[in-house]
């Protein structure tokens, strides 16, 4: 069979055109803007200077927030992993006939607006919220606890949003494991735990890493959970981009922060790609 050299490009052209026109070119605009200046009225002045970048690094404020963002993202990845692996394993091993339905069920939260879902935590964790009410009813506490507006609350919102991504990724790579391998391991005298440790766990790692990457990147760019559930000192880098671009109309500086964030995420994705291969992400996303 002769392979047509043009064919892959023909097949790719619609999506490449879309991504090029609606993503690459606009992002180039952002890069260009990051070298411009802001006029006192809020208009922008074309220029070529690195002042916006210098401003980012002029003191520790912005790097601190960037570091905080990365730290929250890492914690979020870790918690999603801890909370997500077991359910994924459960779906994999379960023989229940509702298994498929249960997996679909995990997608349901996506259908309730992200804002509504995030704000719902206020009614759970708040002073007059569900949790405090229940605990006081049970007599565990006598005064309502202050649970809202801190990093833990932000993480709750983030995990609730991102956990399905993690579970689906892990589940799919577990599904791909040949169950005969487990039988073989057991026939060689492994007990359940050893079989899991020697066979299942290593083979599920591609899904784990794909899930981690996805959760990490999505956390790094988020701003609604810190805005709604966070207190003072819980803001992340996307909140600051929002404030510079929207609040003070400082598009050049906002663009510079965005470029720095993009570069950082780009490095992480590149490293991932280099050592684990972006293809793992595809395998893991099997419907």
């Amino acid at each position: 069979m002769k392979e047509n050299k043009l064919r892959p490009w023909l097949l790719l052209s619609p999506s490449l055109t879309a991504v090029f026109l609606l993503l690459v070119v606009p992002v180039l605009f952002v890069v260009v803007y990051s070298f411009w200046l802001r006029a006192p009225t809020g208009a922008v002045i074309p220029a070529f200077q690195f002042g916006n970048y210098a401003r980012f690094f002029e003191d520790l404020f912005y790097p601190t927030i960037l570091f905080r963002t990365l730290r929250v993202a890492v914690i979020c990845v870790f918690l999603c992993l801890v909370m997500g692996y077991v359910p994924a394993y459960f779906f994999y091993r379960s023989k229940s006939r509702y298994r498929r339905a249960l997996i679909l069920l995990i997608m349901i939260p996506f259908w309730i607006s992200f804002i509504i879902r995030t704000m719902s935590w206020i009614n759970i964790l708040g002073t007059t919220g569900f949790l405090n009410h229940t605990l006081m009813r049970l007599g565990v506490i006598s005064e309502p606890l202050s649970l809202l507006y801190n990093e833990a609350a932000v993480l709750m919102g983030l995990i609730q949003y991102l956990l399905p991504f993690m579970i689906l990724n892990i589940f799919v790579s577990l599904e791909a494991i040949d169950k005969n391998l487990l039988e073989a391991a057991r026939s060689m005298g492994c007990n359940e735990w050893q079989a899991f440790k020697e066979v299942t766990l290593p083979l599920s790692l591609p899904g784990v890493s794909a899930g981690c990457l996805l959760v990490f990147v999505l956390t790094a760019g988020t701003y609604l959970p810190p805005m709604i559930l966070g207190g003072p000192g819980n803001e992340m880098i996307a909140n600051l981009i929002f404030k510079r671009v929207i609040g003070t109309l400082d598009w050049p500086f906002g663009s510079a922060i965005s470029v720095i964030l993009l570069l950082l995420l780009g490095c992480i994705v590149w490293t991932y790609n280099r050592y684990l291969g972006i293809n793992t992400l595809f395998k893991a996303f099997k419907g």
């Binding site: 206020i122 202050s146 805005m227 003072p232 000192g233 510079r244 609040g247 109309l249 400082d250």
Partner: protein
Amino acid sequence: MKKQLKDVHERHLAGDLSRRDFVKYCALAGVAAGLVGGPFSMMSKALAQGSIRFDGWGGTTSQAFRRHAFDPFTKATGVRVIDGEFGDMDTYLTRVIASFPPGGEFNLAHLSGVFDYARYVGLEFHSALDESKIPNLALVMESMITPYRKITPNALSAVPYNLGQTGIAYNTKYIPKEKAEELGASLLWDESVRGNLGSWGEWRTNIWYAALHTGQNPNDIQDIKAVWDALRAQVAMVKKYWGSGAELMSLLAGEEIHATVAWSGRVAHLQSEGYPIGFLAPKNCYSWQECIFVMKGTDLNVAQQLLDFMLAPEASIAVAEGQMYPPSLDPSKVDLPESIRKLPAFDPTGKLEGYLFADPIYWNSKQVEWAEQWDRIMATS
């Protein structure tokens, strides 16, 4: 050959959805899309009739506008009013700037503050209204029009619409009225509210109150360092910087916070629902006025006609009852009902003496520097 192909396909299809079913699926989707009506039909409708866009605060306000101004207006002129949505003030300005032609898709907007008027004028989004075409403008307090005239001496680009104040709301269960009144602005720095304090995330309001706390004139701050120090001390006491009226109200109603700076209309709303929330307007309380701004490129004849409908006492009072901010109507020229007279920030004289507004030139000139400094303080507690 076709049959053979089918065999190839069917042999390996076991368990998967068949193509026929997929076609049905698509048909169902198509029917659904047809039922709800394509977006293009809506677009052509809008073009055919002629329309004007109004961006406002939504909720009860927009319902009141719709009933008392927009629908009668459409009936009288045949021009449809499209209700837009702000998101928030700054997002809106960003969208206006990024639109093409600049400001072009936007017409009327319910802007807050004279400083906002100055921002839009500074970016040259203003138009020149013909006041003689808006007879109801004569009913508006002269003292509310003057600030706009100072910025655009030749012609107005907006009509004042309502008043408001950012005062202090406090929960009377925890903070007695006498104590609040005695402390004034310094209530927001009192040790008793540590951990139960709220504030708006916006820079102007916080700097304004820190100026009051440090005994300075908010429109001419001499010792900005004292302001920053005060704010730094306050950040450690604050539980939540709210970002919307909804958040403000639910924080107060849920007793999540016991004291906060607050918009008068929102507090009036809570009070009318029976919550034990007091409103304190300390000396030199932050007053503001909102206007209906007309963007450059709008059909002025239509806009002026619509503004006249919106300023008509009936519409103006209904909107004021909805949003609980007093209207711009002069109480000495228009007979205002009791429901309006008891709203916070209402001035029975119509002269607005003793109301302190933000000096637009002063505040806009400080914006970039102060807003960023404020973000720094707020984000590093």
